[in-house]
Structure formats: structure tokens, C-alpha cells
């Protein structure tokens, strides 16, 4: 009966080796929402076999972050994945993934030290290390990642290319609530009142898009107006950046195809969002 539940990397790789058809993989930290499920649905369209991993990876959290509070609901996640016809759910524990004496890290330079990497300097090292491990265990033809974590998507694309993983990385569009808030497992941290103010992320991105369409191109001026909007919502800006979506270089002027990304702290919850300027 679907999905088959797998706890050990040994069992996962053995099962994988018996599959000769096309495999799609969706790595998650659980607490699944419609954003994850849209990845799953796309994966099901593109491949014969879909494997979802659920693992709250400790190495991508720093000591002062929300590892212990991070929302977990395995039973509900499995129920959702069953409804979406997923074939395998891999949910290893920390002893499986980081046994005593673990010493190896996969690190992407440069593009991991900007944007989210500035305040979370070891975050992407944790992400690339766990994704390397999962790719080696599962060896999928395709891996699906959401564009909400736009920098993460770029970092994993870089890693997969540099280290010659035989897997195609596919980014999928951000899924938003009815009012525009990007779906995130961390939205659960928000109070009803905070939830309203959290809309400032998306509103500020739309503002930038509208200012650009109105003829404004100067990044600093646009970021300044975005900042006002966010500060007026009593939220704290971590960063707002206009950049080239491939090189991640800062752009002094907006142009079609550039990205704007931001991280904002709403009460105690750090949220991220981004859009492509058109």
C-alpha cells in the first residue's frame, strides 16, 4: 500500500537499486503544506516513481535557531502523501544521517555567503551536505525544489553541476495563500495579528514590481520604498536585495528577469519571499 515507509538509508538504497524506471525526489523537512504538495504533484507528472523525504536536518539550523520548535507532524504528512499517491516516504533519524564521528561537509562558496547566508553563515553548508547524502542514497533522475527558497535552489543547482550528480534539478513556482503570503512551515509560528502583518513581504515585492512598471529602475530607491512599507507593518528587515538570478550579483537597477528577494522578521519569525521582475 502506498506510500511505503522507509526509515534506514540501507533499505532506501536497496529499494532504489531495484527500480529501473524514472525516479523523482522531493526533499522536505515535513510539516507539509500546499507548496510541498505542488512539488509532489509535479513530480508525479514527470516520473514513474516518486520518493519524498521527511527529515528536519539539524545541520542547517544554527544554535540560536528554531530546530527544537520546528513543526513536526509525521502522521499528518504521511496521510497527505498517501492522498497524493507518493510511492515512498523516507524519514531517517539523526543517528542514520549523522552518526557519531561524522566529519564531512559539502560547501558551495560565494553564493552561500550573501542574502540568507549573511545572517545564517552555516545554513547552506547544512543544506548541501544533507542533499548530497540524500542524492547518494536515492540517486533520483529528478529532484524538485520550491522557488520560495530561491537561493537554496541556486545553491543546489550549483552543487549538482559542480559535483556531477546525475540528477536534474527542477525549480517550481512559489505557492501563496489567497492573500499572497508565501506558504511556509514557519507560518504556523505567527499569531493571527502577526499573520496579517506578514503580508508586508509580498506587498513590498508587488510594490517593487509596480514601481518598476511605473518607470522607476533605481534599486536603492525601490528598496527604500519597500523598507518603508515593511517598517510600517512593525516588521524587521533582515535584507532586501535586487540581483541577477544566475550570478547573484547585486544590480543597481531593476530590469526584466532580475530577482528581488527579502527576509523579514515578523515578531520572532523569520520569513522569506522573492519575485522575478517582469
Amino acid at each position: 500500500m502506498k506510500p511505503k515507509l522507509i526509515k534506514t538509508s540501507k533499505e532506501m538504497s536497496e529499494i532504489r537499486n531495484r527500480i529501473s524506471s524514472k525516479i523523482a525526489f522531493v526533499p522536505t523537512m515535513g510539516s507539509l503544506h500546499q507548496g510541498h504538495l505542488s512539488l509532489v504533484d509535479t513530480a508525479i507528472e514527470k516520473a514513474e516513481v516518486v520518493i519524498v523525504s521527511i527529515y528536519v536536518n539539524p545541520t542547517q539550523f544554527s544554535i540560536d535557531e528554531d530546530l527544537t520548535e520546528y513543526p513536526r507532524d509525521l502522521d499528518k504528512d504521511i496521510k497527505l502523501l498517501k492522498e497524493h499517491q507518493v510511492d515512498y516516504v523516507f524519514f531517517p533519524d539523526d543517528e542514520q544521517m549523522y552518526p557519531q564521528g561524522f566529519k564531512t561537509w559539502v560547501d558551495v562558496e560565494d553564493i552561500t555567503q550573501i542574502l540568507c547566508g549573511k545572517t545564517r553563515p552555516t545554513h547552506f553548508r547544512g543544506v548541501t551536505t544533507i542533499v548530497s547524502k540524500l542524492l547518494n542514497i536515492i540517486n533520483p533522475d529528478l529532484i524538485f525544489l520550491g522557488e520560495k527558497d530561491f537561493q537554496q535552489l541556486a545553491v543546489i543547482k550549483q552543487m549538482v553541476s559542480d559535483l556531477n550528480f546525475q540528477t536534474e534539478v527542477i525549480g517550481c513556482p512559489i505557492v501563496r495563500e489567497f492573500d499572497g503570503l508565501a506558504l511556509s512551515s514557519r507560518n504556523k509560528y505567527l499569531t493571527a495579528e502577526g499573520r496579517k502583518r506578514a503580508l508586508c513581504l509580498y506587498k513590498s515585492l508587488l510594490l517593487a514590481q509596480n514601481l518598476f512598471r511605473g518607470g522607476m529602475v533605481n534599486s536603492n530607491k525601490i528598496i527604500s520604498q519597500m523598507s518603508n512599507l515593511i517598517v510600517n507593518a512593525a516588521c524587521v528587515i533582515d535584507y532586501i536585495e535586487v540581483f541577477d538570478p544566475f550570478s547573484f550579483e547585486h544590480l543597481p537597477e531593476l530590469s526584466p528577469g532580475c530577482r528581488i528577494a527579502l527576509a523579514v522578521i515578523v515578531d520572532n519569525t523569520r520569513l522569506i519571499d522573492n519575485i522575478e521582475i517582469r
Copy 2:
């Protein structure tokens, strides 16, 4: 006709995907000697298909090292591999392996910063990165490495385990010249006179073994006598270390199963060797 010669990672991985039988892989930097060929012969015994890579990996050399002088003789290497019935020879170039914008490193902590890592701090990072790439391209069942580079063997075993590569790492015994000098591509750098003095590496290891058999166990005393032998041969010691072969912890006393490893500079050539104490 064997061996088939492959220049691009794309072709290599395509060929690999068409092979369903057991694959053994021997990574080399070329300039093949009997040490490499013993790995190849063991690989042929253990698997149906044998792939040898020849690639002088620039990222494991530091700026002041011998990258440009490192001996290269691809035609001779291919001739030898043909005689030994190798199936595929993969010899990518630098543009294949490190295209512009390359940013990703695989790093093993701790055991890469001692012994050879002290004077060659980025060496093992280069080794683990290129081996990760080759493992992803070739995805072999087995990889064969020589015990002369004992620390390298341990570092790669750690990496393969930590990152869940689906490959078994097999270490093979050191191959020595008639008089005991460990085979190394760098032996070609030695003058006839230096070649004689280079024997001090193996002689000092045998001395340690004999001192231990004679009842001496104190590591410092034994290292001191080894040092005298090497200095008397007008060679320069980089390090001599007595350590646990698994944890790489320094051992104050020799015991059966411990390793002694050393690096010695003969004229301008840095050579390494090691033995297991029995």
C-alpha cells in the same frame, strides 16, 4: 578494442548507465607504476568491468607544489592499461572537471589537518572533491586505493561513509621496489644518488618494527631513532607519526596494529611511506 578511451564526463556517465554488471574503479593521476597496476589487477579479479581514471587533479596541489612538473605520459599509461585488460580509461581535462564558476568543495574535517594535512592544508579537500565528482560520474560498486597514501585512504573511507556514496572502498597493500622503496610517481624526480638516500623512509620504518620487536614501545624514543637514520641520510623530515589506524589519534606507545607514517623530503622531492606494526 580495450580499453575504450573516454574524455567527457557526459560520455562516461552515459556508458556507465548502460552497464548493469559490477563495476570497479581505480582513480589515478597517471604516470602509472606497478603500484597502480596492482590495484588494476585486484579490480579485475573483483568486478566484471574495470574503469581507470587518469587525471592530474590541480586542486590537490598548492601553488608552491609540483603541478606543472608532475610526470605525465598518457600514451604509455594507456598501453599499460591495455596490457592489463582494463575496459575503460576516463581522462577528462581541467575544463571538464573545473569549469569556470566552479564553487563546490567536499571537505572532511579533523583527520585532514594532521600528518600530510599539516603542510598541505588544502590537499585533502582537493582529493575528496575530485573523488566525489568521479564517484558521481562513474557510480562504481568498488573503488580501489593504495595504502601508501594511508591517510588519503582513510579520508576517502570517511567521506564515502558520511555522504552515503553507494561504493565500497578497498585499500590495497603498498608495492615496493626490490630494495623496499615504496613505488610513487614522484620517484622519477630523484637523481641516482637521491634514489639511494630515499631508502631511508623504508629503512626507518623497518627500524621501528625491529625496535618494537626488541621490546621498545615508547613512540618518542622510536621516532628519535628513526629521525637519526633519516637525518644521517641527509634527508629532511616533514613528520613521523605513530597513530591509531582508525581514529588517527597519536599513540604514545606502539602496539600491534598501530601505524607509523612519515613524510620525508629527499633533495626537493617529498616522499611518504607507512607500515602497520606487527
